[in-house]
Symmetry: C2
Subunit: 604 residues, 2 copies
């Protein structure tokens, strides 16, 4: 956190300011102390406008994501107040908006659904407990500076996971769009159940849902260009475009209220008890905690990754930085806040943060104002939401999540690298077929396994001298000079236990194929580390070569690797000193090759 | 297997022989077809002598390891016949001796003990099923060429595991030495139970056991030097030294028979039913198979690693090679053979293979002769083993396994590399405290996690020009030239998802610290791969730098990496072409630094 504070101060104050004192660096960092000191009227105006726009956007989203998580709609509002306030205090991003988001809500539904039936009295307390565990884990990871764990989710795995989650979410919303009940933890089960339920579909719900979806897609893709062509200023066109969802909600709510659709069987949001978010406690049940531990960890990591990538992207646009470990603390506090105020797991959302940024938010105070806005709605305006059709909310979710799906990643990774493609495909298929938790674990497992597999099969090139230079290149790619008595091998990988044996095998094979061999020189310019297993293998190689009358040499060993090799038996077993350059090795061991006139290039 | 055949043929025939035809390469390799064709009288003599010596050594070992595995002693003899014959047909090592070994027997006891009480009727069939599963897995791994899996057991993990297993085995034999019953899956439980049972110890058993142990240690350490000092020829001294254990067995057996110790309460081997090994079938019980799957896999991998390292060491002494994938097939066949002839999991043993090699075995026919020898003993000589005290067998096990323990590995890895030390210590402690299976899994997990952790934090050096040369070196280690407008960074790691973010952070920090910066050049000589995540990060870096008026360049990109980057958006986002050398980058971007006179060295 010292780094966070230092970074925040560097951004805030001239470079001449003194570094924080030792006691200050031990205190938890509070970014609010930085931006709060310099808060002024202009900043206030920007923050307030942004907060108003985000509040209008968040109300239907909060309701919708609570329903997606299997919770009553008002829980989405509760989860949008305390987390925003706490993030404003602890967060290092100036514009991140924290609250319920689609993928985390889906993961919450999957995790809580294992322990309670959606709609039952036992369901909500489990969701609260999940938020508590997730918050505690995020906080602990932040304090222990374990933010690097998120680095083990590769971009292909994240893309595959988000794309599959978007499909799962869209499929799960079809039932609301049709006004039926359908279940299934994977896409196939869900679609089969939906097809079975299709005859019971409520026609009016279906029409409203499909029209709302079509309208929202049209607003997203076509409205803004149309308005621009009509001569509206860009900013106004942008604002109207973003207000589209609000229009869909207002129109369908008014229609449902005027025509009394609820009485005719359409599902609407219904009565939301007005009032402050309740004070709640997680269930104190170690057995439940153990069972929720893995889902909570996955939700934490996914939420953290989503939040940090949004935060970093937006911070970079204004040349600001965010501090990942501080973000863990802030998200941890936000989730703990959600747990104690009747909410469920939250994180920094992509769409709302972008809207907040575009609308001109300057500091996390915008989040505070948004929280106040939502609180006012929760206290005063819930009756206005009574007749909002659930099908309209389903339509907003479908349109929102399908913009997250990125099928192009399959084509791009296929073109660039097959292991990355395999990681995307495995994550995508496992998430669709086996559910979100298994899918994510499969993705991480596959990507790590493929990485380890690649490093366990190092590229080892036989190198020769490029005539007229001091450079050595792969004999298979370049016309180079070699000698039967000398073998130069360039090892293109750090040497560690998984590839130590491959090196032994390669040297054995190369020696068997070159009977006149007297010297083997390993060029170590790409060897960034040698672990104890590889050291033993190198000693074995030196020993076996010596038995065959061949000496082993090393060249171009990097400083840190050389430091470590000092004092090992290996250095005594070599045929001489470690050569600083491969050229020096050649000059010492096979000088005649240097004396030859260059065939292809003059000496320079 | 094509490679095996090719290698075997290369060793057997002059280099002019034609490569195997396509259909031949598709057939399973049978090394016996190679050495069998050239078998002659001299080879027969060497093999027969070696077989005689190994048979004498194997009889007590087989009995002892069967007892260690919780099985009746004769099962050890059964497990030493069919596996030896099958290995002779399929194995690629000329001298490996397959049969029950200490560590695998301990693992068998741990795995089977979960499903049946030692000594109960249900125990043996579970052991047979375990051998069957292990054999099937080894065979499948061999056919699918998955031998590389064993590379993920690092040397430190193997050393820690073997050392801890040796301690566990020695501790478990103390109860036999004391003539009591004691249980416990970890060393602490076992020793506590032993202390509790101590008052019930059988004094005669204890005296015989302790004396036998002391004698065997003396034979191992002192007898051969003594005999040499007395003027015995080296070979004879060696032979007498190896015959020591036989003397201990003969003497204690004769005493037990003459003095009727069994009647006075001493545990002896007892009546062994003479006859051929029985035909047995594994239990056809999918639920049991599922539960035994992980232990069977661990036993397979540990057995394979032990066997291959012995085989490779001995093959190298005679300039032969072994083929790891063929070894998997051979060990698979051996274990399947054990399962169908009343045996239990087997692998290539260290001590017996060395004895076989030293005694002059030339081909796997020595294994066939040994199998015949053990078969004859099983048929004819079991009455002679009746009075062999179990305490003597315990003494032979203790002396054998303590030679496997290698505590020096702790000191050596501590000195060389702390992560390797951590892997040894974790494996050692987990194996002692949590049992063999958990211990091994902990070891593999810790060593992989430490490797991934290291690669996720790449060493990134800021480099400058060494005056008077074309070389670039770390500014922190060398007096080099740099320019405020140009930053050269050498990335000492392949770029992949786990370290992509670290690179972004490093570049961000470096840019923030150098306000006059115009160009960043990443020197990629140690970057052996760039995955899709790292490509995205590089694009992000290029994008952010461009926003700040800084251009990103790459230099010294390796051929395979460059091939892959062709056609990506990254190359368009760079500030120009990829430089072949870092020096060329400097010459193009900051030529003034080259023109300066060298302070420390004349131009060469």
């Amino acid at each position: 956190m010292a780094a966070v504070q230092a970074a925040a101060q560097a951004a805030a104050t001239p470079a001449t300011s003194a570094p924080p004192a030792r006691w200050q660096r031990l205190l938890p960092a509070l970014p609010i102390l930085d931006w709060g000191q310099r808060y002024d009227r202009a900043t206030l105006a920007g923050d307030a406008v942004a907060a108003l726009i985000v509040t209008v956007m968040l109300i239907p989203q909060s309701l919708a994501y609570a329903l997606l998580a299997g919770l009553p709609p008002e829980v989405g509002l509760y989860a949008s107040v305390a987390p925003l306030l706490l993030y404003a205090v602890f967060g290092s991003s100036r514009v991140l908006a924290v609250g319920p988001v689609a993928v985390v809500s889906l993961m919450t539904a999957a995790a809580v659904g294992e322990h309670a039936a959606p709609g039952s009295a036992a369901y909500w307390p489990v969701a609260i407990t999940l938020a508590f565990l997730s918050g505690a884990m995020l906080l602990a990871m932040g304090l222990l500076r374990l933010g690097f764990i998120a680095n083990f989710l590769s971009h292909p795995v994240i893309s595959g996971f988000i794309t599959a989650s978007a499909l799962l979410i869209a499929a799960s919303q079809l039932k609301t769009l049709m006004g039926v009940q359908a279940q299934g933890h994977n896409v196939a089960d869900l679609l089969i159940d939906l097809a079975r339920q299709a005859p019971q579909a409520d026609l009016r719900t279906l029409v409203v849902g499909v029209l709302a979806t079509a309208f929202l897609f049209w607003v997203r893709k076509r409205l803004k260009p149309l308005l621009l062509r009509w001569g509206l200023p860009a900013q106004a066109a942008d604002f109207v475009g973003k207000a589209g969802p609000v229009a869909a909600i207002a129109v369908t709510t008014l229609l449902a209220w005027a025509l009394q659709w609820q009485a005719e069987g359409m599902k609407v949001v219904g009565a939301i008890p007005p009032g402050l978010p309740p004070f709640t406690l997680p269930r104190w049940d170690p057995a439940l905690w153990r069972q929720l531990a893995v889902p909570a960890l996955l939700i934490s990591v996914v939420g953290f990754v989503e939040s940090v990538s949004v935060g970093q992207t937006l911070a970079a646009k204004r040349r600001q930085r965010i501090a990942p470990d501080q973000e863990l603390v802030a998200l941890g506090a936000s989730n703990l806040g959600a747990a104690f105020t009747g909410g469920f797991p939250v994180t920094g959302g992509f769409a709302r943060s972008v809207v907040n940024f575009d609308a001109g938010a300057r500091t996390p105070a915008a989040g505070v104002f948004t929280a106040i806005g939502i609180l006012l709605v929760t206290l005063l305006l819930t009756p206005a939401l009574h007749h909002l059709p659930q099908a309209t909310l389903a339509a907003t979710i479908i349109v929102a999540v399908l913009s997250l799906a990125d099928f192009g990643i399959l084509r791009r990774t296929w073109a660039y690298s097959k292991p990355d493609f395999a990681a995307v495909a495995a994550t995508l298929l496992a998430t669709l077929g086996l559910g979100v938790e298994t899918g994510l674990l499969v993705g991480v497992g596959v990507s790590l396994a493929l990485y380890l597999w690649r490093t366990s099969r190092p590229h080892i090139a036989t190198v020769g001298l490029v005539p007229g230079t001091e450079h050595f290149r792969n004999v298979q790619r370049h016309a180079v000079r070699t000698r039967p008595a000398l073998l130069g091998l360039r090892v293109d990988e750090s040497l560690y236990f998984a590839n130590a044996r491959a090196l032994e095998d390669h040297v054995n094979d190369a020696v068997a194929a070159q009977p006149a061999l007297r010297h083997v020189v390993l060029q170590c310019s790409a060897v960034n580390a040698i672990d104890a297993s590889a050291l033993e293998s190198l000693e074995t190689i030196a020993h076996r070569l010596r038995d065959a009358g061949i000496t082993l040499h090393l060249s171009e060993v990097k400083g840190p690797v050389m430091d470590r090799l000092q004092g090992t038996a290996l250095l005594q077993q070599l045929g001489g000193p470690v050569f600083l350059t491969h050229y020096q090795a050649m000059a010492a061991l096979a000088p005649e090759v240097l004396a030859e006139p260059a065939e292809s290039a003059p000496c320079s």
